[in-house]
Amino acid sequence: MSWLTASLRGRLLLAATILIAAALIGTAAVTYVILDHFMHRQIDQQLDSEILALRSTLVTTAAGMEEGRQVDGPPFDRPGWYWQINSGGSVLRSRSLSGHTLDIPAGPPVLVPPPPPPNERASRPLPDLFEGGPPRPGDGPGPDGQSLHFRTKTFALGGQPITITATAPQDAFVRPLRDAMTPVLLALLITAAALVAAMMFQVQLGLKPLQVLRRAVADIRAGRAERLPGGQPLEIAPLTDELNKLIADNAHGLARSRRHVANLAHGLKTPLANLSLALQRHGDSPELQALVGVMDRRIRHHLARARVAALDGPARAQTRLGTRVSDVVAAMMQIHAERGIACEVVAEPDAAVRCEPQDVDEMLGNLVDNAFKWAASQVRISVQCKDASTVIRIEDDGPGLTTEAIANVIRPGQRLDEHAPGYGFGLPIARELAELYGGHLVLERAALGGLSASLTLPRAT
């Protein structure tokens, strides 16, 4: 029941089912009333005919009354179908009564109906045969206790009132009515089922744009799309517009945070560069320069962290690695142009990760720069896609790191080498970024002899 009210489909179906059921129950009730009325008229006509027939064959003698017919024709030869004539103290009855006497219920006083309009007279000949209105209807128990329907008429015969009664069993109404209603109800049930099915189809059709929208939102979350597609139904278009604005606001917020970080970097580092130059001019004290170095590292560390923190919530972007890797390698070849280091890149062409492109640059830049810095002559980069992740391995043929050194490098803020800027700083940043995206960084000894850094990131599909 909770599903019915919690889901739109449930609510629509519930409402439709209730309305369809109400309409069909109404139809069934009206059909029943009409059929019942029709049955009553039929049987009343039959009973009235019998009363007329009895009346016409009734003979009054000095000994009493005598009924002209010797045999009761059907259906008056069956139980429930009875007739009875009362005149003063004497009683004549149908053979089907087997000697029992009917208790004739006292009906309401019969009012003389107004004469029917002339054009109906031909179609309804029977009531005209009765002087003073049609027989009086009534219901009551029969001799065996079964329910009977009575028609009673009092005539004046030879100056004496005689009352003729004909009855039919209630069963005679109920059974044909039941027989007629069964197929009607069956037809109505089939109609109901067809209507509910049609309704479900309609609901499905009506809710389809919502499913399309859900997939579109999922695409945005996965980074496969940047905004929701246009051309939505009128009712949904305002929603998609609002969602698109929200998405744009989010992206804008991220871009703004990053810009703030960049501005902060600029604002802090330019005076620091000034200070450093001024110190170099005035004697260049190593202690003061060391302080400048400490300030620089603090700023870089916290700016890098701020940049990481600017990325709030799950990553929407997906970044293809092919051009990123080649751009970073091209930059490294320029930066380390003098070293003549050979760099081999083996990448699956469609490899992509679920990370912001800037952060991919940051991770790749730090790791590849580190490899170039320490390599003797060779750097090897491979990109491999696994089920749900993409592994970027960066190897060099440099001196590598000992196990303790690896443990130190991975500790944030730790700096192995004060003279090669970026070393021991870039690796923790790469690790921190990777972990932010649900990935990780593994450092080990490379097949080439130096350090092997394996960066595992969530794969974009």
């Binding site: 960049a262 501005n263 970097a265 600029h266 604002g267 802090l268 580092k269 330019t270 620091l272 560069a273 000034n274 200070l275 450093s276 130059l277 001024a278 170099q280 001019r281 400048v292 620089d296 870089r300 700016l303 940049r307 751009d327 970073v328 091209a330 930059a331 320029q334 930066i335 142009a337 003098e338 492109p357 800037q358 640059d361 940051e362 790749l364 830049g365 730090n366 720069d369």
Partner: protein, 221 residues
């Protein structure tokens, strides 16, 4: 050796210019991207130092404007932005080297010299021309193994000729690469400097190619 320094922080630009001049560079300063773009397009420089965060026009835009206009001068980006995205974008825009603030001025000087040397097509850091040798890393000239004492202007002329040894350097080109943009230049001054250099150089000759310019050569005429 003439440097274009595009830096919006005037105090930093002034300090750097002082240091660079002390290292015999001729320095022109542009305080915003627009001026930097204009100077880089219209004047002859051996190398440019370009900040990325500039008023009026971003450093990367300036660089792209130069490159799309066919200016091949080597460019060192010197910026506070130390993200790898910016570095990669800088290199994609056509930068030759990248340094982040704060920096050691020696590092800047070394990188500038290396950029100029590589742009002139020299793989070796030492350029030799007969008895003359030029250490491009330290910016020192030696003649027969002994250091050569030169004034700033003499050094600029000689380094320009040495980088293009055995080739004719046009007089106008030489003038452009020796004097700063706002210097008062006497049309005879290059002649005067060449004359002084010839006296100091002895066996290594600075040839006058009539109507064209000068050539540093080890050939004995």
């Amino acid at each position: 050796m003439r440097v274009l320094l595009v830096e919006d922080d005037s105090a930093l630009a002034r300090q750097m210019a002082d240091f660079l001049r002390a290292e015999n560079f001729a320095v022109d300063i542009a305080a915003n991207g627009e001026d930097g773009r204009h100077l880089g397009l219209t004047e002859a420089y051996d190398v440019a130092i370009l900040d990325l965060g500039l008023p009026k026009m971003d450093g990367a835009q300036v660089l792209r404007a130069w490159r799309s206009a066919g200016r091949t001068l080597p460019v060192l980006i010197l910026t506070a932005r130390d993200g790898w995205s910016e570095k990669v974008d800088g290199f994609k825009a056509g930068a030759d080297d990248f340094l982040t603030k704060p920096f050691r001025i020696e590092e800047v000087v070394m990188r500038l010299r290396a950029l100029v040397r590589r742009a002139a097509g020299h793989g070796d850091t030492n350029i030799r021309c007969g008895a003359l040798s030029y250490d491009t890393q330290l910016g020192l000239f030696e003649l027969d193994g002994l250091p050569l004492r030169l004034t700033g202007l003499e050094w600029r002329v000689l380094s320009c000729l040495a980088l293009r040894k055995e080739m004719v350097v046009q007089r106008a080109d030489l003038l452009e690469r020796v004097y700063e943009g706002d210097a008062e230049v006497d049309s005879n001054s290059v002649e005067v400097i060449i004359t002084r250099l010839r006296r100091k150089l002895g066996a290594v000759r600075i040839e006058t190619v009539r109507g064209l310019g000068y050539r540093l050569t080890a050939d004995m005429a």
